[in-house]
Symmetry: C2
Subunit: 342 residues, 2 copies
């Protein structure tokens, strides 16, 4: 696999992503890494970079800032990292492109350079959430498109269905429409229209609520990018709230010397708490946290968190490899085509 990594557009210094890529490259000799960014300063910070046989520098003089207007910035900065990455993908120089930059700019650059899959107007981004009792639920859109309308929601359903099939190999994943209540007729005008659109799909099970994202009653939850994005970021904070509460509650060992606290202390000292906390955190973390594929464009683009860390990048590369190995692009296009033929 050949992966292009935009190392300049994230919110952390470029060194964070470069060192993540180098660590990953060391462990994965079958992957070629194309680091897209200001080559000179990368060389200055990493003197030995030329010694990595599977790492290549692709010079980009500019990048798009987080607060720039995507369309204006793309017009002005013709050789921004994100455009170079998309062009490399189009020219088949790389198989996957990863960017942790301005999401709007990544979406726009992808659509302009690569185009969308036949039948899909706007791309969508999806995240897997762990379920109560095991398994995973897909939610989309999580932020590719801030506007809501019935057609976009319908396309999200098609893309989510196809993506779920590719990743979990399930023939007919069920689809639910996120709403304020399960009853028919609930929600805003757009949602009601989308409900009618979706009713034609055989695996559509109707309205679902926020609760159903985690309770296992549906495989694919369709919503607008604003709501999905808010839920994803809220989930991150909720995970942190839980971790900090867990830590507080299990380390109150100095509040007294009774039997319970003494035992808590021993528990803690043996590292049991730490190990259990690791397992818990792993189980409640959305899968492949760190990046989401831009579903619906003609190329495998992964959108990372702005605050993407070394660890997040390494996870994103694993996701990229899984998608590459599973022939994700071919399967997604085929699934959308079959879906629209029905």
């Amino acid at each position: 696999m050949r992966i292009g990594i935009d190392v300049d557009s994230g919110e952390r210094p470029f060194q964070e992503l470069v060192s993540g890529a180098l660590e990953s490259s060391y462990q994965n000799q079958n992957i070629s890494y194309f680091l897209i960014g200001k080559s000179d300063r990368i060389r200055d910070s990493f003197n030995d970079i030329e010694s990595y046989s599977n790492v290549f520098l692709v010079d980009a003089k500019e990048f798009i800032q987080m607060d720039e207007s995507p369309i204006l910035a793309l017009k002005k900065k013709r050789d921004a990292t994100v455009l170079i990455g998309c062009r490399m993908l189009r020219n088949n120089t790389i198989d996957v492109f990863f960017s942790p930059g301005n999401t709007g700019a990544t979406v726009a650059a992808s659509v302009l350079t690569l185009g969308t899959i036949n039948g899909i107007k706007k791309p969508s981004m999806a995240a897997f959430f762990p379920r109560i009792g095991g398994g995973e639920t897909l939610i989309l859109d999580i932020g590719a498109n801030p506007e809501t309308n019935e057609e976009t929601l319908f396309h999200n359903a098609i893309l989510g269905h196809a993506y779920y099939r590719v990743v979990w190999d399930k023939t007919e994943p069920t689809i639910g429409l996120l709403n304020m209540g399960a009853e028919i007729g609930k929600g805003s005008t757009n949602i009601k229209k989308a409900f009618n659109y979706l009713s034609g799909i055989s695996s559509f099970i109707g309205n679902v609520e926020g609760y159903n994202v985690l309770n296992g009653s549906v495989d694919v939850v369709v919503c607008d990018g604003f709501t999905g994005n808010s839920i994803l970021k809220f989930a991150e904070a909720m995970k942190e709230l839980f971790s900090s509460t867990l830590k507080d509650v299990f380390s109150d060992k100095d509040k007294g010397k009774n039997k319970q606290n003494l035992l808590s202390y021993t528990f803690d000292a043996l590292g049991i708490y730490k190990e259990k906390k690791r397992v818990i955190t792993e189980r409640i973390t959305p899968k492949y946290f760190g990046a989401a594929p831009l579903l619906g464009v003609n190329g495998c683009v992964l959108v990372g968190h702005g605050m993407c860390s070394k660890r997040d990048l390494i996870n994103s590369i694993s996701l990229a490899y899984k998608l590459y190995k599973d022939k994700y692009m071919r399967k997604i296009s085929l699934n959308v085509k079959n879906f629209l033929k029905k």
Copy 2:
């Protein structure tokens, strides 16, 4: 305090709410309980109900189902529980009205019967979330109004600001607009317009993201009812995901007999795990879960969960009493008035 309780409109049998009210009435002799519903069947199920000196039955022949269209149902069922409750509130027969029924119907009945506070067009519902590190953040709207527009978001900001002041006695709670990114210019057309509207408020700190609902960087998070509702219900499921994971991880005692598992076993047997789990659950549960006041109407209406349990009702009565004691209605109107004068 005199509270009216709609015992027929919830998703559980009426006995659940009646027994909750009776339990609460026993402990709170200073509160009068008006149970609005089918009196005959209440008497049949609770033979001794006449012996409760502070519980009164208000007969209502009909109620609005969860899947009915609010406006049509209100026209047809003139003496539905929710209309009787709102009328009692208007006639000052009760101080607070609680209903776990069809939210749309409760909102419509309240607006039609009680009217809105001067300067506010549509009511809003709010929930407090516990923060990482302590304290509470208010989020609204959580479902009174499914449509999004800049004026509604502006009114949500005013109502949230006023409500936060009443509950936490903070002079200038900060306000943030939920968005897909913190940068100016992010989000849908409606959100951008709302940003401009809100910019005139001195305590407005700008865009916030889903993460900020819990991290303590803002007091009042303003969003549309669809997103707020989805987040609230998602939070409920996330809490359950934590609980079930916690339980799984701390009770893996039979997977071997090594030192760690033996200690886990002792830990469990002494009831430490159970006690810690109780503390954790309490700390991560949104405050006053079970009901939210309908902010912006001329009367104290509490909207409960459809699945409202005995325990939820008892919590809701505590919230009602707090609002009553704190002269919530007078303060909220005054705060909105002062805010709009500025």
